[in-house]
């Protein structure tokens, strides 16, 4: 095998593991990202074989969906015909009844660790995972952990000294580590050589190794991802791979008796592909998952078919106000309620950073926060400014910061913590009681510290860090993409979103993903400041975008936990808008109330007490389900709002406003399909993965979470870093609140335009052609009439067929 081929296989294996972010700003990532170049079905086989990771639910789950009528016979029939399975539905269901009692067979790729484990009894796998996980926690703990080279050197130095492996029965571990090469790359090459792997198995084997520590591997991949965006060293994940393969290597050096077993294993390693053929359980899962996805499409078609009967009432007059929300599924509930309360307010869906990809620096912050989607590097910096005596304020904050640090070192230092607890521990009694009763919270809110002063009006947000021309460009493209460029109400509300929860390590996952796992205040305020700026407006006017003189942009925040809408800069609104604002605020208050009532049942909150109870839960330090986040998401609609206005989309749908008629050369559509659409599929697949295999790609049980290194959680006392969502975020204790269905994207645009974009971008083509998402098109009446089936081809969806299916469903349930 040539060195280039090996190199390529290594890189491929590294790519296979998707990045993950720290919990400080956690954003949803598609954990199957590295497998996007294979089909969904193939990825299911690969992950099952290489890491015993399930992409399908147990058969019992699907059987229940059939029983509850979510999957019907027509869905199964269609799924079987798509997969070329020649069998009647009756036969299939008979088989399902038999199989659902069985357990899924696991048939995983063998590594030396597995062999050694079965030969030795003692839990080597646990030892590798715990030893490496603990070491990585310490390595990544500090702000500036070393370079990848230092990572390897430090791991080596540590493992040459650490006695734990030897005390656990791995003899000579330290001296073997000592003999490892001086750099990670050679360690991988050496390892491969010693293991005599066949060429075509190298990638699979290395991938399988990375999946043993899928959490840390994803985290390291995340660092590499960010360093690629911002310029930095990118071999963290590779170093981790070197560490794991070194364990394998040490095992084979250690146990010569393993060699025959390993040789035998090497021969059976090829059986990867025969796995599916021989596994009925797995095949049945694959059919049913597809049927489940088709069922979701059928539901969507039904909804659109019904609503197409409603006449589109495009408000030709100037509306009282327009309100731009994030495309987030949680906006859907609120928008629906707002439109019902006040039909003179138009709502618009757009990515929640509103086209302003900024970095925000609060005074004295050690690194600043990137408030932008993680697909792109953050742009210029906006900062907190204290006004005329900025320098004095900054000095004071700096001095207090130092005092705080000294205090916390005193509080947590060796021995000095005794001097802290003896005199001051008693003061935790009132704190304990206060926190317990919800009068206080265990730690101050970081958001409050980061920009509370700006919201109070004491400090200002300074956007001058963005060059003037960039401000104009951003404003221009934002207004165009929002479809606002030629029709603006006197008040345009820009509603970012964020959530409220306390004592929740996964809190930032409930904030705005488009703002990089941050709450949306700063982006909304930036938009407000720039779009209200006379000089910018003047310049926009020159470039053909006219903002009416009486139009005022107003930043606000939608709290998705409490459904409150807060106007962020009330003092900045001119008195000329008082009347309108009063009306708008009234409508918002009503809409908030009614949105809470809509959400109350799902939160298990009594309708009568929903007003107080929802607020109380948000500040409860023991609340593990403050809100449902994006659980349930399974579709993304890219069309004008009136197409969906009459539907109850049950907080399952991302909504992006888009009118192809005013989109020149489909530039906006291209942006939507390459950015928001990719992001929505990431979110959807994150929820999917956390549901389908919460053990491997989800974060497990929240009641056991143990925050480590300030960046992630362990479940219990040790083990791998846990990525993805906790069980409590997708399950309410009785049933799943997220159903694993792949994203259906409904677009209203000409088929050629959509097709061209799919073919032009590899990333989009992979998603569509490999069945990670399904694209559906709306016709002129607003019905779903075409479906993308891969290779640039489309299937016509007949209305008649849908009606028969619906009928069949009705008879089936009777």
């Amino acid at each position: 095998m040539s060195i280039e081929q090996v190199q390529e296989a290594i890189n491929k294996a590294l790519q296979r593991v998707a990045p993950a972010w720290t919990l400080e700003n956690s954003v949803a990532v598609n954990p199957y990202l590295g497998l996007a170049d294979t089909t969904f079905e193939k990825a299911a086989e690969l992950l099952k074989y290489r890491g015993d990771i399930d992409l399908y639910m147990p058969l019992g789950f699907y059987a229940q969906q059939i029983e509850e009528g979510r999957i019907n016979n027509a869905d199964i029939r269609r799924a079987m015909s798509t997969m070329n399975i020649d069998m009647s539905v009756r036969e299939f269901r008979g088989e399902l009844d038999y199989l659902k009692g069985e357990k899924a067979e696991s048939h995983s790729m063998k590594t030396l660790l597995n062999l050694a484990q079965s030969a030795h009894q003692n839990d080597l796998h646990e030892l590798l995972v715990n030893h490496t996980s603990e070491w990585l926690s310490s390595f990544f703990r500090e702000e500036e952990s070393g370079s990848p080279e230092e990572m390897w050197a430090e791991w080596k130095r540590y493992s040459e000294t650490d006695l734990l492996p030897e005390l656990s029965g791995l003899e000579n571990f330290r001296s073997r580590v000592k003999n490892l090469p001086e750099n990670a790359h050679s360690a991988i090459l050496n390892g491969l050589e010693n293991l005599h792997l066949k060429e075509h198995l190298v990638e699979a084997y290395l991938h399988a190794l990375l999946l043993k520590l899928v959490g840390w591997s994803s985290y390291a991949s995340g660092i590499d991802w960010q360093n690629r965006l911002y310029g930095g060293e990118i071999n963290y994940q590779k170093t981790l791979l070197a560490i794991i393969i070194s364990w394998e290597n040490i095992l084979i050096q250690q146990n010569h008796e393993l060699e025959p077993d390993w040789k035998e294993a090497l021969n059976t390693l090829e059986d990867e592909l025969s796995f599916k053929r021989n596994n009925e359980y797995f095949q049945t899962q694959a059919v049913l998952q597809l049927a489940f996805d088709l069922a979701a499409q059928r539901e969507l078609r039904k909804k659109f078919s019904k609503s197409a009967a409603y006449k589109s009432k495009t408000n030709k007059d100037r509306p009282k106000a327009q309100m731009v929300f994030c495309i987030d599924v949680r906006s859907e509930v609120y928008r629906r309620n707002l439109e019902t309360v006040d039909n003179e307010i138009e709502t618009i869906g757009f990515a929640g950073f509103f086209g302003f990809p900024i970095k925000y620096s609060p005074i004295n912050h050690s690194k600043g926060r990137n408030n932008c989607p993680v697909l792109i590097p953050s742009g210029p910096e906006v900062c907190e400014h204290a006004g005329h005596n900025h320098d004095a304020v900054e000095q004071k904050i700096e001095a207090n910061g130092k005092l705080n640090t000294a205090w916390s070192k005193f509080k947590t230092g060796a021995v000095s913590s005794f001097s802290f607890v003896s005199p001051l521990g008693l003061f935790y009694l009132p704190k304990l009681i206060g926190d317990s009763l919800g009068w206080s919270s265990p730690a101050p809110s970081p958001k409050e510290k980061e920009f509370g002063q700006i919201l109070k009006g004491d400090h200002k947000l300074d956007v001058t860090g963005i060059p003037f021309e960039d401000r104009v460009t951003m404003a221009k493209s934002a207004l165009t993409a929002m479809g606002l460029s030629n029709r603006m109400a006197p008040v345009v509300l820009i509603a970012g979103h964020g959530s409220t929860s306390v004592n929740n390590p996964h809190a930032s996952g409930l904030d705005c993903g488009a703002c990089g796992g941050n709450s949306g205040e700063i982006n909304a305020l930036t938009a407000e400041i720039i779009l209200n700026d006379k000089a910018i407006r003047q310049q926009l006017d020159n470039e053909g975008i006219h903002i009416p003189r009486d139009t005022r942009f107003v930043a606000c925040l939608h709290d998705t936990t409490t459904d409150e809408i807060k106007i962020l800069n009330e003092a900045g609104i001119a008195t000329s808008h008082n009347l309108q604002m009063d009306e708008i605020k009234k409508s918002l208050a009503l809409a908030s109330q009614s949105a809470r009532k809509t959400r109350a049942p799902r939160l298990g909150v009594n309708l009568k007490s929903s007003e107080t109870e929802i607020m109380r839960r948000a500040n409860d330090w023991s609340q593990v389900r403050p809100e449902w986040g994006l659980a349930g998401c399974n579709s993304f609609v890219v069309a004008p709002r009136f197409r969906t206005a009459s539907m109850d989309l049950e907080s399952k749908t991302f909504l992006h406003s888009y009118d192809w008629r005013s989109d020149k050369e489909y530039a906006v559509l291209e942006t939507i399909m390459t950015a928001p659409m990719v992001v929505t599929s990431w979110i959807n697949l994150q929820y999917y993965a956390s549901t389908a295999d919460n053990n491997k790609l989800g974060a497990g049980n929240k009641t056991l979470h143990n925050v480590t290194a300030g960046l992630g959680v362990l479940e219990g006392s040790n083990g791998d870093l846990r990525i993805g969502l906790p069980m409590q975020s997708i399950h309410d204790g009785e049933k799943y609140q997220h159903l694993p269905q792949r994203l259906n994207v409904v677009i209203e645009a000409p088929v050629d335009a959509v097709n061209n974009i799919i073919q032009k971008h590899e990333m989009v083509r992979d998603l569509c052609d490999n069945n990670w998402i399904t694209i559906l098109l709306l016709d002129e009446e607003g019905k779903i009439s075409q479906k993308y089936v891969g290779n640039g081809e489309w299937e016509r969806l007949e209305e008649r067929e849908l009606q028969t299916e619906i009928k069949e469903y009705q008879t089936q349930t009777i």
Binding site: E134, S137, S138, R141, R157, Y158, D162, L163, L164, L167, N364, H365, E398, N400, G401, K402, L403, T405, K409, F410, T412, G413, A414, V415, S416, S417, F418, S419, V421, S422, P423, G425, L426, Y428, K431, L432, I433, D435, S436, P442, A443, P446, K449, E450, V502, N503, P505, W621, S622, Q623, V624, T703, L704, H705, N706, T708, A709, L711, G716, S717
Partner: protein
Amino acid sequence: MTNTILAAVSTFVPLLLLIDVLALGHLKESKSAGRSGKLILLGGITSAFPLLVLFATSSQTAQFITGTEPLGDLIRFDTLSTIMFIAVSIIGFVVLRFSESYLAGEKNQVAFFRKLLFTIALVQVLVLSGSLITLFVAWVATSFGLKSLILHYKDRPRAQLAAKKNFLIARMSDLSLLVSLGLLYSQFGTANLELIFEGLRNINLDSVPANLELSAIFLVLAAVIKSVQVPFHGWILDVMEAPTPVSGLLHAGLLNAGPFLIIRFSFLMDISTIAPIVLLGFGALSAIYGTIVYPTQPAVKTSLAYSSIGHMGFSLMIAGMGLYSASLLHLVAHSFYKAHSFLSSGSAIDRYRLKQMDGKLNFKATFWHALIGFIITGTIFLLINSALEESHQKNFQILVLGAIIVAGVSSYMIRTLGTQNSTRSTFKAIAVSSMVLLAFFTFESAIGAYLGAQIPDVAQPGLWLKAILTLVLIAFVSIIFIAMFRSPKSAMKGPKWQIYKRNGFYIHVIFDRFLQPVYSKVRS
């Protein structure tokens, strides 16, 4: 009269809790299950609080609920037990309330409540015991309650392992206690604590019976083993395999048993010569061990577990010095502090984010900063000490303890000076340091005055004790200063023993390996 009623009412609390545990067996609805437990605990706090006030304001220090011989007083409300009872009830209440939402939706939430209430009730009985027999039964039973809690997720292998280890350790502790209490019984012929204490107070110090010396030593062993002193601490590093509230209750309510036992039998400790030294040794070692290992742990709950080992050690060490009131202060203070730390451990990410708002600290302390900082805090200490009334105990032990506290506070002062901060911050830091020191001495003397006749006066230390205490002081103070001048990062790069330190010096691994054959025989 009212006191008797109050005491009687409070006495019913653990009983009611136990009845509740049985009653809940038939309950499916977890909401009402939580509510009943909370109500009973609240009742206990309300009825015991007036007793606390009474003891604090009058010369009376005890109130008994008497049973028949040989049991003697079943329940003993005195200054010590009332404080412990209230603290345990408050923590039990908070933990229970926390579990209502935290474990909502879990299939076995009611079962969890039952285990929780059972354990709380037994800790209450333990602290209120007026007889050797109730005390011993409660001591044993709490560990069974704890075991059921550790095994709440019984499919987790690590939870099983922790439960097995704990089971073994708990039996060792039970055995030591049995020997200790047996010797006491044989000496005084009664199980009644009040009579035993009286007997102990009348012992002639020149001819202490060997039985009592031995009893004290076994008492120390029981306490040391129960309160996770090195090398008996391994199991506590795996208790995170149970839901957070279990750790909350364990660290704030159950570990306390050791120091409580020592303070309870302070009159026995007082007449013994060897036992306090043994206790001091175990305590000081574990205090140092816990406190230097805990900052190296990246996982929050693991680090809190090491921290508890240290704090229990510190509390036992102070008791070994004969400063029972300071020991109780540290015990109770730690219990609220640690309950909060565990229950709020989910805020670790928020705290990490907040830390970034403090900017970068470039701390460059020199010898001079250290000297000035130490002189400032030392002066504050001397001022406070001289301001305190004559009645305040001024002896060698309290001076050593005071010096440790002062050295700790001085680290804050020194860090403030070492960051080239403004004069304003220096004054702030001086004010804060004075407050901390004032709080310590005020609380310490207040709790001493409150305990009154329930603990012996501090004895004059012998030469040996003085020497040992001086060594302890030197060790503690040097740790503070070494930690201050070393960056945390260097723990990765530092000498070999830093790596050993991160692994807790492998003590639990070796201990486990040694006991491996026994574990495999224990059913979980």
